[in-house]
């Protein structure tokens, strides 16, 4: 097997492991972080498969935008949930 083939196989296994971890994470905030790692691994996988264009898109959307939208949604829901203690505090619920 070629070195590139080994890298691809290794990354596929890692992607499968992290994807399973993402599914098995019940808390959306933690899940967003796991998803961001999954996005990073997928970007690596696309790079090893010689698809740098797709890797760049994956890096930007999967690693940054999707987790950020999840975190912002969670923060909005928590604010509305009447938890006054955490309403105005930055950093809680991952507002960044």
């Amino acid at each position: 097997m070629t070195p590139a083939g080994i890298l691809v196989d290794l990354t596929v296994l890692l992607v499968a492991a992290v994807a399973t971890a993402a599914v098995r994470t019940p808390d959306p905030v933690r899940q967003a972080v796991v998803l961001s790692q999954l996005g990073l691994l997928l970007a690596l996988l696309f790079t090893f498969l010689q698809a740098p264009d797709v890797a760049l898109s994956q890096l930007a959307v999967g690693t940054v935008v999707t987790p950020l939208l999840i975190l912002l949604t969670v923060r909005k829901i928590r604010r509305q949930g009447g938890t006054d203690g955490g309403a105005g505090r930055r950093g809680r619920g991952g507002d960044r």
């Binding site: 070629t2 740098p52 930007a60 940054v64 912002l72 909005k76 507002d95 960044r96």
Partner: protein, 242 residues
């Protein structure tokens, strides 16, 4: 439907999908093999049209119409999200408290913000030469702008992100892509035909219509993502019910 019935339906479907998928995978050409029917046609066409990045040539020249559809998928998705997330009648705006930012974070943000923006413009402008293009560069531009929020606070981010201008830029760039296609009808034979001079391979101006379409997509994606994130950020930080 009861739980047992649901599980039974799931396993039937799962086995069927697994069987079909397994059989199809068995018929695929071997990974890394010499059989590349699409590359054998697309890459020579890309080079003949002086577009060094074959992916950009496929996206914006050989199959430009598909990209037009994708562009409007993003446009309508962001439009929908902005409409759903707008301030409703029973909601009011509260001013977000400014947070404490570590001086080191502020320094890193001040240095990184221009670097990120230049990188974004670079990726958009070199779409016809190197990996990347309008979509990737646009996302870098949009997310890079939000470094202002990390390094300062929401009021600073709002100042560097004029929402009305970006709303207009989003719509106009989406329209510009569709309008550029009309040049193909006027001077060529088909919509989105590459009628501009193709230039020299490897030059910034090569590829004919490809860099122009890339620029339109870059502006569209960049402003659309900023508008989308602004709608989410407004809801998460400013808008309260009641």
């Amino acid at each position: 439907m009861s739980r047992t019935a649901r599980t039974a339906v799931f396993w039937c479907a799962a086995v069927a999908v697994a069987l079909c998928y397994g059989i199809s995978c068995g018929h695929l050409p071997a990974f890394g093999g010499p059989f590349h029917p699409y590359a054998d046609r697309a890459v020579p066409t890309a080079l003949a049209r002086r577009t060094a990045n074959a992916v950009a040539s496929v996206n914006f020249d050989q199959r430009g119409f598909d990209t037009l559809g994708e562009e409007f998928i993003l446009f309508t998705a962001v439009l929908g999200a902005a409409i759903v997330l707008r301030r409703a009648r029973d909601e009011h705006v509260v001013s977000p408290r400014s947070g404490r930012v570590l001086p080191t974070v502020r320094l890193a943000g001040t240095v990184l913000l221009p670097v990120a923006l230049v990188t974004g413009v670079y990726v958009v402008a070199h779409g016809q030469l190197t990996p990347g293009g309008g979509f990737q560069g646009g996302v870098v531009l949009a997310t890079g702008l939000h470094v202002a929020y990390l390094a300062a606070d929401y009021r600073v981010l709002r100042a560097v992100r004029p929402r009305t201008v970006l709303d207009l830029a989003d719509a106009m760039a989406a329209g510009a892509f569709a309008a550029l296609g009309l040049a193909g009808l006027a001077w060529g034979s088909a919509y989105l035909e590459n009628v501009l001079p193709w230039g020299t391979l490897g030059q910034l101006t090569s590829g004919g219509i490809v860099p122009l379409l890339n620029a339109a997509v870059g502006v569209e994606v960049g402003s659309a993502l900023v508008v989308l994130l602004a709608a989410f950020l407004d809801q998460a930080l400013e808008i309260e019910t009641g």
